[in-house]
């Protein structure tokens, strides 16, 4: 293998993995505060289509990025209202968000499929994704607000008794996660593709969800995990190209299988589970009780 080929492959891995980093780091913060949002795929698609449509209509990258982010704020805000104020089941609400987002994005983007645009340079976003992981790692471990987020996710009743605003904290982390998912979608439709196509995120939302568990809720591990997952996907294509006879589907299921194995490993030991997973994950907070 020549140096050029290796650099070429690394380049593709960098470009294709970035949406996983965005969506994953957002979900990580949301889950650290004790909320499981299964709506990533829907959020990504709506973020992708909003950004794309705005760019086609206005031709302005700033507006398109802005509206894409706004779409994430609105949708995740609805999710937050349902699970936090109305205390709905997080699993069902997240699935509803995904189903709704798949439908909404397809409807909005109907007229724009196949419209050509000038894509943005992906390298800005790649740099931002690394900075984000650094920022989130620092935020969660070194700042007071980060500690509050973690306290709320570990035991919301204690956090509430200590005087922290559980609902407000979770609103902010859910909306942060939503915005990150929209950014992931924006990156896919504006930088990576650049085009719009129904269902173009192709299950990356679910991989990002798996990634958070795979990384045992730790930001730096999430970055490494994202590049492992992304690298496996690219490696599969290259192996096929040079004629290796292993079926591609087995590479594609690797991230999911690896996540199950990690999940079994951390949950089989009570202490290990406590050290990795936020204890209040997926448990609704009821103030009145």
């Amino acid at each position: 293998m020549s140096i050029e080929l290796i650099i070429g492959i690394l380049n593709i891995v960098l470009i294709s993995t970035t949406p996983l980093v965005f969506a994953g780091i957002g979900e990580l913060v949301t889950e650290k505060s004790g909320v499981l949002n299964l709506g990533l795929e829907g959020l990504m698609l709506v973020g992708a289509v909003t950004g794309f449509i705005t760019l086609v209509i206005t031709g302005n990258y700033f507006y398109s990025l802005f509206l894409s982010i706004i779409s994430g704020v609105i949708l995740s805000g609805i999710f937050a209202f349902l699970v936090l104020n109305l205390m709905t089941n997080q699993i069902a609400t997240g699935l509803a968000l995904t189903i709704f987002g798949i439908g909404l994005s397809a409807m909005l983007g109907k007229k724009f499929g196949g419209t050509p645009i000038n894509g943005l340079n992906p390298y800005y976003f790649i740099v931002i994704s690394f900075l984000l992981v650094f920022f989130v790692a620092y935020f969660l471990s070194k700042t007071k607000t980060g500690l509050i987020v973690r306290a709320v996710g570990e035991n919301h009743n204690s956090a509430y008794a200590l005087g922290y605003n559980v609902i407000k904290t979770r609103y902010l982390t859910i909306i942060f996660g939503g915005v990150m998912s929209s950014l992931a979608g924006y990156y896919i439709s504006i930088c990576y593709a650049p085009m719009w196509q129904e269902g173009m995120t192709a299950g990356r939302g679910w991989i990002a969800l798996a990634l958070v568990v795979f990384a045992t809720w730790k930001p730096w591990r999430l970055l490494v995990g994202a590049y492992i997952f992304g690298g496996v996907a690219i490696m599969q294509m290259n192996l096929q190209a040079i004629g290796v006879k292993l079926p591609g589907q087995f590479f594609n299921m690797m991230p999911y299988l690896a996540t199950i194995i990690v999940l079994v490993f951390i949950s089989s030991n009570k202490l290990r589970l406590k050290l990795s997973a936020p204890s209040s994950l997926n448990i609704p907070f009821e103030k009145n009780q």
Partner: protein, 350 residues
């Protein structure tokens, strides 16, 4: 100022009324969506909800779509009643189709009357097998069943993909990723000649009745109810929670596997990549919308099946993507979950 207070009097009326409120709210917001798209809401609703079932073909299609939804949702209701979140029905459905369909392909020159029952049996086994994995992981290693059952769905979809592009690809299929058709003996009998509605409808009704009896007349149903309401009370009563997890997972997996086999041996007739338009996930909506009540699930499966048909007609006549059906499904679940709040809390406005 809005104040909420936990309800002490549990209201059955609100419990069963809230799905209707959710549907009404969905229609209300849906009309705005049509307005934004520059379509007349009344005309659109007619195309979406009435014209699809205005002829015998449409009604048959309604049952074709409602059958898998009802069967899967009935199975899922066991899990959800027990507060176990199996969200991997789509994967279990796929496994049922692989196992049962595999039998159909293995004996592809068979004319035996036993072929179809054997396929059904293997479909059920396939679905149940796939559901046993999260059940074992949950009971042995305390692993979160939500995440494992979801991950296994994607594993199952890739396994199906492997078979239809690899070993089971039809040699006479022009290289398309699909298997050869099942023999006639492996096809599900239709109820009316020329229409696609098949005997799966009877299975759905039988499963509904059995479920009703189990929930209301058996100790097992009682255990599920108690565990769902309070896992502590169930522990004090000495119910074996781990066994309940196992049984509910196996029942829901078996139902999903059955639905998957019915899809491939009924309307589809062979194996290919997209055997299910998200039935496994949509059935979760059906189960919630039917309030985990067996008869409620039958009704909600018909309603959600209508959103599939309406979406197809909307694509044809209104030129909007069929994904609009997903918008309605998502909305109805949002509103249902939201209105459940009124079931638990009283709201005062001062």
């Amino acid at each position: 100022m809005i104040r909420v207070q936990l309800r002490e009097d549990y209201s059955n009326l609100i419990f069963y009324l809230s799905p209707l409120v959710a549907v009404a709210l969905t229609l209300f917001f849906g009309s705005f969506i049509f307005l934004i798209l520059d379509l007349s809401p009344i005309e659109s609703f007619k195309i979406f909800f009435i014209s699809p079932i205005s002829n015998s073909y449409g009604i048959s299609e309604l049952f074709v779509k409602a059958t898998p939804l009802a069967i899967i949702a009935l199975g899922l209701s066991y899990c959800f009643k027990n507060n176990i979140y199996n969200i991997g029905a789509e994967g279990q459905l796929t496994m049922g189709a692989i196992f049962g369909g595999g039998i159909g392909l293995l004996f592809n020159d068979s004319t035996s009357v036993f072929l179809l029952p054997l396929m059904i049996l293997f479909g059920v086994i396939g679905g149940a097998f796939w559901a046993t994995i999260p059940a074992i992981l949950k009971t042995k290693f305390n692993t979160n069943e939500i995440l494992t059952s979801l991950m296994l769905t994607y594993v199952a979809l890739f396994i199906l993909d492997y078979f239809v592009v690899g070993p089971w690809k039809d040699p006479a299929g022009y290289g398309l990723p699909k298997s050869m058709p099942f023999p006639d003996a492996g096809r599900l009998p239709v109820l009316i000649d020329g229409l696609r509605v098949h005997i799966g409808v009877y299975f759905a009704l039988i499963i509904c009745l059995i479920t009703y009896i189990i929930y209301n007349k058996t100790l097992f149903g009682f255990k599920l109810k108690v565990t769902g309401l309070s896992s502590k009370a169930s522990q004090y009563a000495g119910f074996k929670y781990k066994n309940l997890i196992f049984y509910t997972f196996i029942i829901s997996g078996a139902c999903a596997g059955l639905a998957g086999l019915f899809e491939v041996s009924g309307p589809i007739g062979l194996l290919y990549r997209d055997i299910s338009p998200n039935y496994g996930f949509t059935a979760i909506i059906v189960a919630f919308l039917g309030r985990l009540n067996p008869f409620g699930i039958i009704l909600s499966s018909l309603l959600i099946a209508l959103t599939y048909l309406g979406a197809e007609d909307a694509q044809l006549f209104l030129k909007i993507p069929s994904a609009v059906g997903f918008v309605f499904q998502g909305l109805v679940l949002f509103f249902l979950l939201g209105t459940d709040f009124l079931n638990k809390y009283k709201v005062f406005i001062k």
